[in-house]
């Protein structure tokens, strides 16, 4: 029988494969270590594929849950008027079929008429909801049971008890309800706060009420987006379906609204997380692949013996390669057999932990990662086969000088150049990570690891040799072992490279994790400089107005607070443009309570305090208003009746404001000022004089339209005396008329008072004492850009109201918590009078920062939830920090970096073990000879152990240095927080020396233990060899 070449090849191949199979059957544990490495890689691939999916979905869930139910719905609103029932029916069909996508709940319709007035003046809206009983809770009465065109039973939704409806409307109120489905009557259908809602049952029935036939009404289809069901991958179909539905109605005006921004934002963050996770995953997988190859290199000696037997028997290259491939396939099979179930299990656990459908997540992961698993397995298979088949036994006859370039140098140099290119190109942001803009930046950790491995492989032998020299005549065996390592580029040196790379990635992962976690703290501290920031809330209550009588320490004894005067201003930037900056006045003494000040922001807190702290006493301008004064009477002359005059008063607390004067009914030469509570005991500072408001508006209107010829307002006012009226009588106040000046009018002083001539065009004139000299130029800490616009060390800022303030640059800070990117930080005691002088009241603090100890923070937080403090907008630092920390993306990101660090560390330890075993086997002839010379077995182990420890120390050293440099580069180049947003302030490396030392020790000690355990094999091998030879 003749055989074809193909059949001969096939038969030879099967023979080779059967040998491989027999070897596997004989010792199935041979590829175990390699297989376990692959298993971990496969499982990691599953987890890293699942992580961004779960993180993204959790982020989306959280984003949607933060929205009000009305906002997390798809609402299609269409005016009914002008549309035929058929058109409405068609629309209903399109909406129900077009928006039938996952994550979107069932359709519920509602109809709402425009607001009407009841006979008692109450504004009400009539609305109808399908299946009303499922959307409300009955408070009293009963639910509507009928609604005909002439008589419709309705219920009142909300607190209103009754409403006087016109009988002819046919409305019958049968009860009161509370809405339980908050997606209804929300968004476009949300009533005004003063409107009463009357609810009927059934959209069609309520829409057909005869008396309301001509009333405008809108029908809505409400499709709630269920945060528990929707997934990131559903966003595109939802947006697409919504767009499709919207487009189909474009001629008839239905309006489709949905939380598009929230959905897109969640999708973008999920994409960022995915790419970032891919970054962590890539480094882990590549490290695992390298470990697998290292293990394969260790198994090479055994494999080569069998391959040589095959070749001796005449096996061709193809058959030999089949044999090698089959042997290499066994670890891959182990890896897949163990790794896939392990990955599925881990994925299920992860999904369960986050309360997602594990089956759904697993099927998605399998679908997404199957190709990568198969491709990765093939790559590992081929690479392992190549490593196993390569005869790279180190022969001294092939020794080369250590500085001679090799292929490794080419790889290392290429990695270095690519890393340098990545760094030089600039930085990656959250958006660029979404778009996968620069792959080099994403690969930076891997490139750095390769470079570190290269350097370690190149320099560790040199260091080890140097160390061996230092040993001199001591420890000759150890010296010899080290010398062998230094001269032979074999597995130990490959281990040095691997170990250095693994250390780099491990410590980098830990450090980056720590940096990101600290970044969340920094972000919170940057947003809330102390522990709480109190600002105006919706009720427009000024924070200092509701400060407890005893101050904040009455609630929290440890509280330190500062009033904050925050005003927008503008500054000219080199005459080219005008930039907006934040003027922030604060009490410098409280700066030490700032939680997140970093040295990279600017000068030390102490130097900033010294630079801006005012040495002035309390303001002394103005005339003291006697305690108990309720009214001031100002005596004067001239155009008092045609001029609007206000007294400028500083309250007892120092808050400037204006109290309007009225012309006395009894004496037209007298103006009367009714004081606000708190004014008595304060000071009368001066006066504002201007044309009446209506005239001023007209004048300003003309001026605004370019009519500069509008008439001026002219007046002459004489002011002589001010009397303070108290319950006990009247007191004449010693107003220093001679000191009062005005830039808006011509002032003439006489013995008893002053006279001012006004010539105004839509403005007013202030009559004030001269400005204290210390507020003319205020020292400020400014940002670098603002500092750059300084002239002669001073910056002129424009304040609202055409006033200007000169700031002296007393310090430059790159950033200042709570102040934005452009700022000027000043002493509030200077800012207040400076601002008030041009605009009385403008210098009143509008914010409060409070710092307190832990327990006191809780007391404050409790107080802020109660009246009157609950009307304030309170931001708590720890709340922001907790929110950032609990963000799903943050948790996954930090978790993955933690896992990556652990995996890298475990691999490093495994590599040391394998390398030590391999080294013991490689040095067996020498050990046998030494054992024959009488060297104790323990000394042989020590030789091997010393080698591994020397390599470990060198590699850890390079790894630690590499990781710190990598951390510096990545922190600078990848400007993304743990929550995949732009970090404000920028991330700062947070690796303490003690932590670094602990991490290195945590790596070093297990490595030494692994080396010691593996080194024991040297004793057994030497003893066994001797027995075999001489026994």
């Amino acid at each position: 029988m003749t055989t074809t070449p193909a059949s001969r090849w096939w038969r030879a191949g099967t023979a080779a494969a059967s040998l491989a199979a027999a070897r596997v059957r004989a010792k199935p544990t041979r590829g175990l270590v390699t297989g376990l490495g692959i298993a971990v890689a496969v499982a990691s691939l599953f987890v890293t594929t699942a992580s961004p999916i779960i993180a993204g979905d959790a982020t989306l869930q959280r984003t949607l849950q933060d929205l009000s139910p009305g906002d997390r719905s798809i609402t299609v609103a269409a005016p009914v008027n002008g549309q035929t029932p058929e058109q409405i029916q068609e629309a209903d069909h399109r909406i129900r079929t077009g928006l039938k996508v996952r994550g979107v709940g069932g359709v519920r319709t509602e109809i709402e008429y425009r607001a009407l007035a009841a006979s008692d003046g109450t504004i009400f809206r009539l609305a109808g909801i399908d299946d009303l009983a499922t959307a409300v809770t009955l408070r009293d009465g009963r639910l509507p049971t009928s609604c005909t065109p002439t008589r419709c039973e309705v219920v009142i939704a909300g607190p209103t008890e009754s409403i006087a409806l016109q009988p002819e409307l046919g409305m019958v109120v049968v009860g009161h309800v509370a809405l339980t489905n908050s997606s209804l009557l929300a968004g476009d259908f949300a009533p005004m706060s003063n409107e009463v809602i009357l609810l009927g049952n059934g959209t069609d029935d309520v829409g057909s009420i005869k008396p309301f036939e001509l009333i405008g009404r809108t029908i809505g289809w409400i499709l709630p987006i269920d945060p528990g069901v929707i997934r990131v991958r559903d966003i595109d179909p939802i947006l697409s379906a919504a767009a499709s539905v919207a487009n189909s109605f474009i001629d008839r005006g239905p309006k489709v609204s949905l939380p598009r921004t929230a959905l897109l934002d969640a999708r973008a963050r999920a994409a960022t997380a995915s790419n970032r996770v891919a970054l962590a995953a890539a480094q882990g997988v590549v490290l695992l692949a390298a470990f697998t190859l290292l293990a394969a290199a260790g198994a090479r000696r055994h494999h080569r013996a069998a391959r040589d037997l095959l070749r001796q028997r005449g096996a061709g290259r193809a058959a030999a390669n089949v044999f090698t491939t089959c042997e290499a396939a066994w670890p891959v099979i182990i890896g897949l057999a163990v790794g896939v179930p392990l990955g599925v299990l881990a994925t299920r656990q992860l999904a369960d932990h986050w309360h997602f459908d594990a089956g759904d997540v697993v099927s998605t992961v399998i679908r997404d990662s199957a190709d990568r698993v198969i491709l990765g397995a093939l790559v590992i298979l081929v690479a392992t086969a190549v490593v196993m088949a390569t005869d790279s036994s180190a022969s001294p006859s092939r020794q080369r000088s250590w500085w001679r370039p090799t292929a490794l140098d080419a790889v290392g140099a290429a990695a270095f150049c690519m890393a340098a290119l990545a760094v030089s190109r600039g930085s990656a942001t959250a958006s660029s990570l979404v778009s996968k803009g620069d792959p080099l930046i994403a690969l930076l950790p891997l490139l750095a690891a390769v470079v570190v491995a290269w350097i370690a492989i190149r320099l560790v032998p040199v260091l080890v040799a140097r160390f061996a020299q230092l040993l001199g005549h001591h420890a000759p065996l150890v010296r010899t072992a080290l010398g062998e390592v230094a001269r032979r580029p074999t597995v130990p040196l490959a281990t040095a490279g691997f170990l250095a790379a693994a250390t780099t990635l491990s410590i980098f992962s830990l450090g980056y994790r720590s940096t990101l976690a600290a970044g969340a703290r920094d972000q919170a501290s940057y947003a809330v400089p102390f522990d709480f920031t109190l600002a105006y809330g919706p009720a427009l209550v000024r924070p200092s107005a509701v400060e407890p009588v005893g101050g904040w320490p009455s609630i929290a004894p440890s509280a330190v607070s500062t009033d904050i005067l925050r005003r927008s201003a503008s500054v000219e930037s080199q005459k080219l443009s005008t930039d907006s900056i934040a003027m922030v006045g604060l009490e410098p003494s409280t700066l030490t309570s700032m939680r997140g000040w970093r040295s990279d922001f600017g000068p030390s807190i102490e130097s900033m305090q010294a630079a801006i702290t005012s040495k002035r006493d309390q303001p002394t301008a103005g005339t003291v208003i006697p305690l108990g004064t309720t009214r001031l009477t100002i005596t004067g002359d001239g155009d008092l009746s045609t001029t609007e005059i206000a007294a400028i008063v500083a309250s007892e607390k120092g808050l400037w404001h204006e109290d309007t004067t009225t012309l006395s009914k009894s004496d037209t030469n007298q103006l009367v000022v009714t004081l606000d509570p708190g004014d008595a005991g304060g000071r009368l500072i001066g006066f504002r004089l201007g044309q009446p408001g209506t005239q001023a508006q007209k004048t300003q209107h003309h001026a605004g339209e370019g009519n500069t010829g509008a008439a001026y307002f002219t007046a002459t006012i004489t002011l002589d005396s001010v009397e303070a009226e108290t319950s006990s009588g009247t007191t004449t106040m010693a107003v220093p008329w001679s000191q009062l000046q005005s830039q808006g009018g011509a002032v003439t002083h006489d013995a008893t008072g002053l006279s001012i001539e006004l010539r105004l065009q839509g403005s007013s004139a202030l009559l004030l004492p001269p400005a204290p000299p210390d507020i003319a130029v205020i020292p400020a800490i400014v940002d670098p850009y603002t500092a750059a616009s300084a002239q002669g060390g001073n910056v002129v800022v424009d304040l609202p109201g055409d006033s200007r303030q000169v700031l002296r640059v007393a310090g430059i800070a790159k950033r200042f918590p709570g102040a934005g990117t452009r700022f000027a930080i000043v002493d509030i005691s200077l800012a207040e009078p400076a601002f008030d002088r041009d605009q009385p009241g403008f210098g009143t603090a509008n914010e409060i920062w409070i710092a307190a100890d832990g327990a006191d923070q809780r007391a404050l937080a409790t107080a802020f939830e109660q009246a009157p403090l609950k009307d304030l907008a309170v931001t708590r630092r720890t709340t922001i920090q907790e929110r950032l920390s609990s963000d799903p993306l943050s948790r996954f990101t930090l978790g993955l970096f933690g896992i990556a660090a652990i995996i890298a560390a475990l691999l490093a330890i495994g590599a040391v073990f394998l390398s030590t075993m391999s080294n013991a086997a490689e040095q067996a002839p020498l050990h046998r000879a030494l054992a024959a010379e009488g060297v104790a077995p323990r000394s042989l182990s020590r030789m091997v152990r010393a080698t591994s420890i020397a390599i470990t120390v060198g590699a850890l050293l390079f790894g630690a240095l590499g990781s710190l440099e990598l951390l510096r580069l990545v922190t600078r180049v990848i400007a993304v927080t743990a929550t995949s947003t732009v970090p404000v302030p920028p991330l700062l490396i947070r690796v303490r020396a003690i932590d670094l030392g602990a991490a290195l020790a945590a790596l070093f000690v297990p490595c030494v233990v692994a080396a010691a355990l593996a080194a024991r094999s040297a004793r057994r091998v030497a003893r066994g060899d001797l027995l075999r030879e001489f026994g």
Binding site: L19, A305, G314, L930
Partner: protein, 497 residues
């Protein structure tokens, strides 16, 4: 079948080439059985590698089954290896895959040659049956004896019915009975298959199956003995080179130069050449008769009383009674497998005797030189020797250095002292190992086959050196059957019984 004509094979070693075969010529016809003898390092293994296609000739012509090995493609060489050649070696692991059963091992080469599994197994069974090991077809090789394993290996080498059979020390690991069985089978099967048989062996028993026994020395054929003849004939190669046997040279007193005087007796119809020494040998290393007690022997360092060793069911050393004394060079001789190395191991204390006892003089450090010595490969020869001294606590001072230099000079290694050991040849490593063992200062030095890879000249130098070292008050025990050592021995203990 095999035609080698003036073949050179060079190996690269660091920056130079080493010639393993130096103009070797050999012809083996179909059905002819040729036994190759010679010391290790003489080029036997290279000859095997050449004939089996594992190395190519650097010069000369090498034909195997009419294929020129110098020019044949890899594909042709592979086909030759698969189908034309059967190879059996000493090591079981290089003959057989221990993970396969006997039959799968035997059938493997047939399958690699493209035969179907059924055919290959049938051929394998036939061959195993022919060799009487068919009962091992389904057995794991890990559970069979060395003799059985070698017969299975023989079956594996012959199942595909090769036309050239190459056996490289096929009985090295067998006892004499099993060795004889293997030799007989080789002879029978080569006849049955009409195959050329090339047996490379140290074993004197191999000679009885050979049509010719060729001695190879220094990469060339030195002598030839035909079957049925007691004496050997010198081989004159194509360039006229003749290698004078050492014993004849010494007997003739020729040191390094000789003159040839032709004596032609045309009348008698015969020709002859007379070789006369120009510079004569003045001293002889041999001081005592082999097998006789040395007159210089000193104290007993090791007393061996009926010590033997058995591993499992195999007796690896028959009981030995022997004293090891200072001042003498003691040679343990015997055929391969007689237990020479095991006896050294018992003396060194690496293993315990199964019977009898071995007593050492108090505080008797032992230095051992193995037949395949291990070194710190990247260290120089000198550093390796100094390392051995250092681990024994000897100080490397000027006196020590001088002593090492003298030892290296004595064995012809002084010029290689600075060379990394990894770059040395087998013989050079062997000499370095000897110096290392002796430099340790141990009073008892055990050397396993210390000259097996040396040519006669170097072996004699080493022998002289060992004698001199013994005279300094040490006991030197060598396991060897090399004539140079036997000639220099103060005492010879044979294990051949």
């Amino acid at each position: 079948m095999i035609e080698l004509d003036d073949v050179f094979v060079l190996y690269p070693v660091q920056d130079r080439q080493v010639a393993a075969l130096r103009g070797l010529s050999l012809s083996v016809a179909a059905g002819e059985r040729v036994v190759i003898a010679g010391p290790s390092g003489s080029g036997k293994s290279t000859l095997v590698r050449l004939v089996t296609g594992l190395v190519r000739p650097s010069a000369g012509r090498a034909l195997v089954l009419d294929h020129d090995l110098a020019t044949a493609s890899n594909r042709v060489i592979l086909a030759l290896q698969r189908s034309g050649i059967g190879v059996i070696t000493q090591q079981m692991t290089s003959n057989l895959a221990v993970e396969l059963t006997g039959l799968h091992n035997v059938a493997m080469q047939c399958r690699l040659a493209g035969r179907s599994r059924h055919d290959a197994h049938q051929l394998g069974r036939d061959m195993m049956k022919r060799l009487g090991v068919d009962h091992l077809a389904d057995r794991s090789l890990a559970t069979i004896s060395a003799g059985e394993a070698q017969r299975v290996a023989l079956a594996a080498a012959l199942a595909h019915r090769p036309r050239v059979i190459v056996a490289d020390e096929p009985t090295g690991a067998l006892d004499i009975d099993n060795a004889n069985i293997v030799f007989d089978l080789l002879a029978e099967l080569s006849t049955e298959l009409e195959a050329a048989l090339l047996v490379v062996s140290h074993d004197p028993g191999a000679g009885r199956i050979g049509d010719r026994v060729l001695e190879i020395r220094d990469g060339r054929l030195g002598a030839e003995r035909l079957a049925g003849h007691e004496s050997s004939r010198l081989v004159v190669d194509a360039r006229g080179w003749i290698r004078l046997p050492e014993t004849d040279r010494i007997r003739a007193g020729i040191a390094s130069r000789a003159v040839v005087e032709p004596a032609v007796d045309f009348a008698a119809g015969s020709e002859s050449l007379t070789l006369k020494a120009v510079d004569r040998i003045t001293t002889s290393a041999a001081t005592t008769r082999p097998g006789e007690a040395s007159s210089v022997a000193g104290d007993v360092l090791v007393a061996i009383a009926a010590a033997g060793r058995t591993i499992g069911d195999t007796r690896v050393l028959a009981p030995v009674t022997l004293d090891v004394r200072t001042n003498e060079l003691l040679i343990i001789s015997g055929r391969s497998g007689s237990g020479k190395t095991t006896l050294l191991g018992l003396i060194a204390g690496f293993a315990e005797p199964s019977e009898g006892r071995i007593e050492h003089a108090p505080s008797t450090p032992v230095a051992v030189g193995t037949s395949t010595p291990g070194f710190a490969e990247t260290l120089s020869v000198r550093h390796n020797i100094e390392l051995a001294c250092t681990v024994r606590g000897r100080v490397i001072d000027a006196q020590m250095t001088d002593s090492i230099d003298r030892a290296l000079t004595a064995v012809g290694m002084i010029e290689l002292a600075a060379r990394p050991v990894g770059t040395l040849s087998g013989g050079e490593r062997q000499r370095a190992s000897i110096v290392r063992a002796l430099a340790s200062g141990a009073p008892l030095v055990l050397l396993d086959e210390p000259t097996s890879q040396l040519d006669q000249s170097l072996a004699r130098s080493v022998a002289r050196f060992l004698v001199a070292e013994a005279r300094s008050g040490r006991a030197i025990v060598c396991a060897s059957h090399e004539p140079e050592l036997l000639a220099a021995a103060d005492r010879i203990h044979s294990l051949n019984g």
